[in-house]
């Protein structure tokens, strides 16, 4: 998305076209263009444009999936949402999970990229290993970690017992369950941002480091004064896309905790899924989706403004 915004000004030349003559050649080009676009537009109009419009529409109805007709109830779904404690709980859980996961993933990915970027033996091996969990299905990840974090027989608690730490309720304590799911997610997903940071680091010219070395800069200063500032576009891209992805978390709580203990790890998408599938409340589920969309779009824009500004002031 960072790239999307950078390239927008290129499009500003387009209005010039309007003033040009409408020649047969230009008409043929326009027809060709729409033929090239036709398949995409077909799917886009049906599954995106129509779906978004209907999604908003459904949220104004008391829409049961199985019923033949549906009552228009205006903003009632949204009013109910605002006073629904489970909505607020799920939103709080999702926000905590997203912040922990985005922060953790960024730090682990950046550290791993720094380590793998050194002139060492077997760097390809480490790169391959670190990305490997990323190709696993969320179901596999959930099954492995539900077992590893088991309170009685889990390997993690066994490992801790070697250091004299008594059994930890990773998944059955309301306070620990979100950090636990977050750790699992960092394990699963840090490989992708690591690859992006690596590519970003390799794009930094070696001369800059040489110049700094001549000036007597140590590794720490070079990292904070050269690497980090020059990685800012990648950092922005990673945090924004990670935030969007983690806010939509669904599979990890579904597989590992089923939203428990109580509702301590029920996320917004899980709640949406329960409303739509278990209770067949399509109208209310749509209202949840739109509420989530509004929050996510706002946060994304804020993130752009916040990180973008800080970049300018440097």
């Amino acid at each position: 998305m960072a790239q999307a915004i950078q390239t927008l000004p290129r499009e500003r030349i387009a209005p010039r076209i309007k003033r040009e003559r409408w020649t047969p050649g230009r008409r043929r080009e326009a027809i060709a263009a729409y033929l090239f676009l036709a398949p995409f537009l077909f799917f886009f109009l049906i599954f995106v444009v129509r779906a978004v419009i209907q999604g908003v529409n459904v949220s104004f109805y008391d829409w049961n999936v199985l019923a033949k007709s549906h009552d228009w109830i205006g903003l009632k779904n949204f009013e109910a949402l605002l006073s629904d404690p489970l909505w607020w709980t799920s939103l709080r859980n999702t926000a905590i999970f997203a912040v922990l996961t985005v922060g953790g993933t960024t730090i682990v990915a950046l550290t791993a990229a720094l380590a793998v970027n050194q002139p060492i033996r077997a760097r390809d091996f480490f790169r391959i290993v670190f990305y490997a969990p990323g190709v696993l299905s969320v179901g596999v990840v959930g099954i492995i970690w539900n077992w590893m974090l088991d309170r009685e027989f889990g390997v993690v608690n066994y490992g801790l017992s070697l250091f004299g730490i008594s059994k930890v309720s990773w998944l059955s304590s309301a306070d620990l369950v979100l950090p636990s799911l977050s750790l699992v997610t960092i394990w699963w997903g840090f490989g992708f941002p690591m690859l992006l940071f690596l590519a970003g680091m390799q794009a930094i010219p070696e001369q800059i480091y040489e110049a700094a070395r001549i000036d007597g800069a140590n590794a720490r200063r070079m990292f904070f004064n050269i690497t980090l500032p020059l990685l800012r576009p990648t950092l922005l891209f990673v945090t924004v896309t990670q935030f969007i992805a983690q806010f939509q978390v669904f599979g990890q709580p579904l597989f590992i905790t089923n939203g428990g203990p109580g509702q301590a790890s029920t996320t917004v998408i899980m709640y949406l899924y329960q409303q739509a599938v278990r209770y067949l409340h399509a109208g209310y589920a749509s209202a949840i989706a739109i509420g989530l969309a509004i929050i996510m779009i706002t946060l994304t824009l804020l993130q752009f403004i916040f990180i973008g500004r800080r970049g300018e002031s440097n």
Binding site: M1, A2, Q3, A4, E11, I17, E29, A30, A33, F36, L37, P39, F40, F44, I46, F47, V48, R50, A51, V52, G55, V65, A115, V116, Q118, I120, F126, I128, V129, A132, G134, V135, L136, S137, V138, G139, V140, G142, I143, I144, N146, M148, V155, Y158, L195, L196, L198, A199, Q248, G251, L254, F255, A282, S286, A289, I290, L292, A293, I297, T300
Partner: protein, 281 residues
Amino acid sequence: MLATRTSPFKNVGLYAFLIIMTLIVGFPLLLMVGESFMHSNEIIRWPPIVVPQEPTFENFQKMFSQQDLQLPRWLFNSVFVAAAYSFAVITVCSLAAYAFARLRFPGRTILFGLFLATIMIPSQVTLIPNYLLMRDIKFLDTYNALIWPGVANVFGVFLLRQFFMGIPRELEEAAIMDGATRFGVYWRVVLPLSTNALIALGIYVFLNNYNDLLWPLLVTSRLEMRTIPAGLQVLNGAFGTLDRGLVLAAATFASVPVLIVYIIFQRRILKGITMTGMGGQ
């Protein structure tokens, strides 16, 4: 000079860090594979072991004989659907991307802006309307429901447009001088020069579709139409904590083929993933 003297010591720390990371990342996978070959009493042994003392296929036998578990079928569904989906995305998006990269037409700016704006809308907004549509046109429990709804991939258009704009125009102009049509230019000049970008996008959308959970859970209910993630959900719900060996065997069965493909094509996959992540640069 100081820097060179401290470097061997620094490298020891570096290797220690990398090896610990490798263990943290790799150990869970080894444990999963190891325990899927264990009897249930070995799985819950304390202290835990990774290598089975008396290896057994009983978990896998149980998995294949259970009526409500169809892992080979789920694996086939997942691979087939993800492959068909990737092929459709590459075709549809590359055609649209060519129009945006090279052709001038009224509505170009507005359309591209509209496409980019929809990236901001989380896919859950379209979930229920698309489910209702699938139900009304009788696509539930078919491959159609799993393949078509996500084909209009705006990111794919954006990525390929960036790449196509980097191809020298002279090559295309030469083809037009030789009498090639617009489609001929796209098919014979632009696509062959873009295989790297097309493969990168293909890998990226393949993995996304292969790992999708929410949509397959909604649109499939018959066991034989489940994909791996949706099927594992059924399995996990039924046996989750009751039969660890069975569940771990299923997880092993679902992930070992993927990991083997990953290791064989790692260079291509890592390059492709990086390229898509960077927006085609």
